[in-house]
């Protein structure tokens, strides 16, 4: 059955009006990108820029850090999100509000918070000094970046996964139980497959955000060099445009591939679900 109405005249008219707008929009989006891509060929060219030891190390560190953060955030959020979605108890709304409160703070403030938590005068340091006589300070290392990125991403992951858990049909779990499945079989056979699209999607967004995060890294002023900081340094301080452009394109391409894969995966998972 033909569901869509048609009246060829008005459609062509509207398309004719919208087409130039779309072209302008595309130009706005794509022309600078094209120029960026071409800039990468200046200087040593892509390959050299990317394989320089400094770039390689930054790339490796950034990917590892982002992957670690995504994995941890998704795993934690799966447990917490499913629990909060399914259980009703006094104070639940307040708890949810508090867990998602950090979503209001941008990266620069998150960096600030990590310093308050684990910096030289931080809370963790005070506690460990009182307990063990030694100050634990990790704000300026990879651990600090990890804490910051987790702080930033975890509330977002919890919100997404909670929504997905609320949309899961409880009858599926009851059906599995009626067939004799105990708690862990239900988790393995019903809950995890049902949450899979949300887990993959929020993991991918978490990864993409971590790959591109500058504010937290900047505020922490770590001795570690993540990719966005390297791009910033090459661009503004060293004004090495070729390297900055190559790394930008690489960063964008990586992120785009991860997001596209996740969309594909969660699409086919959702089709299965």
């Amino acid at each position: 059955m033909a569901r869509r109405s048609e009246s060829a005249g008005p459609f062509l008219l509207r398309a004719a009006l919208l087409a130039p707008a779309l072209v302008l929009l595309l130009a706005f989006f794509l022309l600078p990108l094209a120029k960026l891509a071409m800039l990468g060929f200046e200087g040593q060219g892509y390959w050299a820029a990317i394989t320089a030891p400094r770039s390689l190390r930054a790339l490796r560190d950034t990917v590892l850090l982002s992957a670690a953060v995504s994995f941890s955030a998704v795993a934690l959020a799966a447990v917490v999100g499913h629990f909060l979605a399914r259980r009703r108890f006094p104070g639940r709304r307040l708890l949810v509000a508090m867990l998602t409160l950090p979503m209001a703070f941008p990266g620069v403030v998150v960096g600030f918070l990590v310093i308050l938590l684990a910096g030289r005068q931080g809370l963790v340091g005070s506690v460990t000094e009182a307990l063990f006589g030694e100050r634990l300070v990790f704000a300026y290392s990879f651990a600090g970046l990890f804490a910051g990125y987790l702080y930033f991403s975890l509330p977002r992951c919890i919100a997404t996964i909670m929504a997905a858990a609320e949309a899961l049909d409880p009858a599926l779990e009851e059906a599995a139980r009626s067939l004799g499945a105990r708690r862990w079989r239900v988790v393995r056979d019903v809950i995890l497959p049902g949450l899979a699209p949300a887990l993959v999607a929020s993991g991918a967004i978490c990864f993409a955000t971590a790959m591109g995060a500058l504010g937290t890294a900047f505020t922490l002023a770590t001795d570690t060099s993540v990719l966005p900081m390297l791009i910033y340094t090459e661009f503004t301080l060293a004004t090495n445009l070729g390297v900055a452009a190559s790394l930008s394109v690489l960063l964008g391409a990586t992120t785009w591939v991860v997001l596209a894969l996740a969309r594909g995966a969660s699409g086919s998972l959702a089709a299965n679900a």
Binding site: E174, A175, L179, G180, D189
Partner: protein
């Protein structure tokens, strides 16, 4: 194979103290097919969930299977088969994966499992669909997969929640005959929930009519139809024509008769194939609402007056 299920003094309250089910004792004989019938919110689904172990009765209530107290056993240890309202098929498993799940969980070896799944596919006329994804099935096929999945571990009690609720009228009737034949073969104790009186009466050996968390009547379909306990039951399981006071009759107790004593004016008629359904405005003092009857032959036009005879043995005296 089958067991006798007993709800003993089972009630079920919401957290705010209101009752989803008032204290109820019901026995379901081994091998019988019972319909829990009533409007939404009457407590029929709660009753089914108490039997399944998906809900716990309030203190004092007990659930007994063949005399053994199973009140404390959760659903996964009761060994029942259950068909859920929208079937709740596992979307990440194919048809065979769904049907074999209960056996897989019990650790049945693969070869034996495959054989049993094939048997179930044959029994529910799903041959050749074992590797189909469940979202590629029609509504009727889904219903059969849900049934096969529940039956595969050979449960001794089968519970069905609105088994035909998601299907359209034509399919319902076909599947009803299919399910009736299957249940007649298996002789497994079966309890199903429905709000459709035709379904309850066609499929059940026993009908339990419920309203507002209470059982109003339990009996064979014929008894419930022919001697309803009160007006609500009478109206719920069929059409009642009001004759004035506490006197009612079924449509088939009225027949056109020029020498009849009852008068009525035709309001509207619906041709239904085998017969025509007539709605009349009664011309009898005290009779409220409309009268309905079915006619085989030619039908008087709307607005014309008819006289009717009443089979006096079929008059029902019903309390409100």
């Amino acid at each position: 194979m089958s067991l006798t299920a007993l709800l003993q003094n089972c009630a079920r309250s919401f957290p705010d103290g209101t009752r989803a089910l008032h204290p109820t004792t019901l026995e379901f004989a081994a091998g019988s097919v019972t319909a829990l019938l009533g409007p939404s919110g009457c407590g029929k689904t709660t009753t089914l969930r108490l039997l399944a172990g998906l809900a716990m009765p309030d203190a004092g209530g007990r659930v007994l299977f063949d005399g053994t107290d199973v009140t404390g056993l959760p659903v996964e240890q009761r060994g029942i088969g259950m068909v859920f309202q929208n079937y709740a098929l596992f979307p990440n498993r194919d048809v065979a994966g769904n049907i074999g799940y209960g056996l897989e969980v019990r650790g049945v070896p693969k070869a034996e499992r495959t054989a049993r799944v094939a048997e179930m596919l044959r029994l529910t006329r799903l041959e050749g669909l074992g590797h189909r994804r469940v979202d590629q099935l029609s509504g009727g096929q889904r219903q059969r997969v849900a049934l096969a999945r529940a039956l595969a571990p050979a449960p001794r009690l089968l519970l069905l929640d609105e088994p035909f609720g998601a299907l359209d009228a034509r399919l319902r009737e076909a599947l009803r005959a299919e399910l009736a034949a299957l249940l007649a073969t298996l002789r497994i104790t079966t309890i199903f929930v429905t709000h459709d009186q035709a379904e309850a009466m066609a499929l059940g050996d026993q009908v339990v009519v419920m309203q507002s968390g209470r059982v109003l009547q339990q009996g064979s379909p014929r008894a419930v139809y022919q001697q309803p306990a009160n007006r609500f039951v009478g109206q719920f399981v069929g059409t009642l024509n009001h004759l004035g006071g506490d006197r009612f009759c079924r449509p088939e107790a009225l027949r056109p008769d020029p020498a009849g004593t009852l008068g009525g004016v035709v309001l509207v008629s619906f041709f239904e194939g085998g017969h025509t359904r007539l709605h009349l405005r009664p011309e009898v003092p005290g009779a409220e609402g409309e009268w309905v009857l079915n006619l085989g032959g030619t039908v008087p036009a709307a607005g014309s007056r008819m006289t009717l005879a009443l089979d006096s043995a079929a008059v029902l005296h019903l309390p409100a």
